[in-house]
């Protein structure tokens, strides 16, 4: 009964209560968003530990900057934007680290490779390995395509909401989703069984 009431309260009501000092409302926000934000961050970074850190940092920022949220936008848009920005910053940090730490000696950029599943068992391609292959294909996309693909096809958000989260026009979202999907189908074409 109590859980049902908690589930019925909107995100915007929860953040308003939290802004007035209700810590229980903050707990509910954490419970409501921790897994979906983790999925978003994980598909963005491909690393569980870093993704959990990103989600932790997201909630810390919500806690610190609670007054920054204005009720004119959806709360989900605001919190996804925070996670997205943190994930993009982490990707940039990794890129810089890659560039400066190895100095090119003995370093070999590994291209995305699709295993030759013609010679492997079909079941393998459809289980854990398949998930890994898909994750690698997502990783191979640049940030701008990755963000919209994850939000649209994995988080199943509307184009309008993605436009607000990524702060890009609706037409740009649609075009990036289209191009991202085309890139993925090229990489995963071998994996897909055409009926």
């Amino acid at each position: 009964m109590f859980k049902k009431i908690a589930d019925e309260v909107s995100d915007e009501d929860l953040i308003t209560r939290f802004q007035r000092g209700d810590m229980y409302a903050f707990d509910l926000i954490v419970k409501r968003y921790k897994d979906q934000l983790l999925n978003f961050a994980y598909r963005f970074l491909g690393d569980m530990e870093d993704s959990e850190d990103i989600v932790q940092e997201t909630f810390l920022r919500v806690f610190r900057k609670k007054k920054a949220y204005k009720n004119i936008a959806k709360f989900s848009t605001w919190i996804y934007t925070i996670t997205g920005n943190l994930a993009k910053t982490e990707l940039r940090r990794r890129k810089r680290k890659k560039l400066f730490s190895i100095s090119g000696i003995g370093y070999e950029e590994k291209d995305f490779e699709i295993p030759d599943i013609k010679h492997g068992p079909d079941e393998e391609a459809e289980s854990v390995v398949k998930d890994e292959i898909i994750q690698k294909a997502i990783d191979s996309l640049s940030s701008k395509f990755k963000e919209v693909i994850i939000l649209r096809d994995i988080q199943e958000l509307s184009y309008e909401e993605i436009s607000k989260i990524a702060k890009i026009p609706l037409g740009t979202v649609k075009s990036r989703v289209n191009r991202g999907r085309l890139k993925l189908q090229e990489k995963l074409g071998h994996l897909v069984k055409i009926p």
Binding site: Y42, N178, R181
Partner: protein, 188 residues
């Protein structure tokens, strides 16, 4: 007529069913005659299905506990550290500190300028150095020496010459000591 490029530019909208019905019809007609676009369409549709059905990951059991600990640590830091007397937010604090530092430097500079340029303008000098006081005489007028920018000259007149009492001479000596090289004490 729909070309392969048209089809691929809008294949996502076609898969999502977001094209207007007449265009959808034209796209279907194109698919019926183009094997490559049919292949692309099937792949895109399958990729969308695969992505939607990917396993969902979950936060670790300790996630909420760790978050609480971090929040607790942060609030403790706020209570004991600099945050006690500064508003919250690291960036704001940094900016405020920089601003306060800049203001301090500016005020110090202005005071120093006034002290060097016009001894009494800032009103910060001791009354014994004030121009309105009779014992103040610039070196240039009393000794014929070229005035130096960084010096303040003090003429020590006798008490009966409408100047201050003996105390003021002692006071002037003290001031000289206080101001060091910046003050040239001229005894007549």
């Amino acid at each position: 007529m729909v070309t392969c490029k048209d089809f691929q530019d809008f294949v996502s909208d076609f898969v999502d069913g977001e094209l207007p019905p007449p265009i959808q019809k034209k796209f279907r007609e194109h698919l019926a005659s183009c094997h490559y676009c049919t292949y692309v369409y099937n792949n895109v549709a399958k990729v969308c299905t695969i992505l939607k059905n990917l396993d969902k990951v979950q936060t670790s059991d300790s996630f909420e506990l760790r978050l609480r600990q971090r929040l607790l640590e942060e609030s403790e830091r706020k209570e004991t550290g600099l945050a006690q007397w500064l508003p919250s937010g690291n960036i704001v604090n940094g900016k405020m500190l920089a601003g306060a530092g800049a203001a301090l430097v500016l005020v110090t500079g202005i005071v120093a300028f006034h002290q060097q340029g016009t001894p009494d303008a800032s009103g910060l000098l001791p009354s014994s150095l004030n121009k309105s006081n009779n014992n103040y005489t610039p070196i240039s007028t009393t000794q014929g020496i070229k005035p130096q920018d960084n010096s303040i000259s003090i003429s020590n007149k006798e008490p009966d010459q409408a100047g201050p009492s003996e105390d003021s001479t002692t006071q002037n000596l003290d001031v000289k000591k206080d101001l060091g090289d910046k003050v040239k004490y001229v005894e007549k």
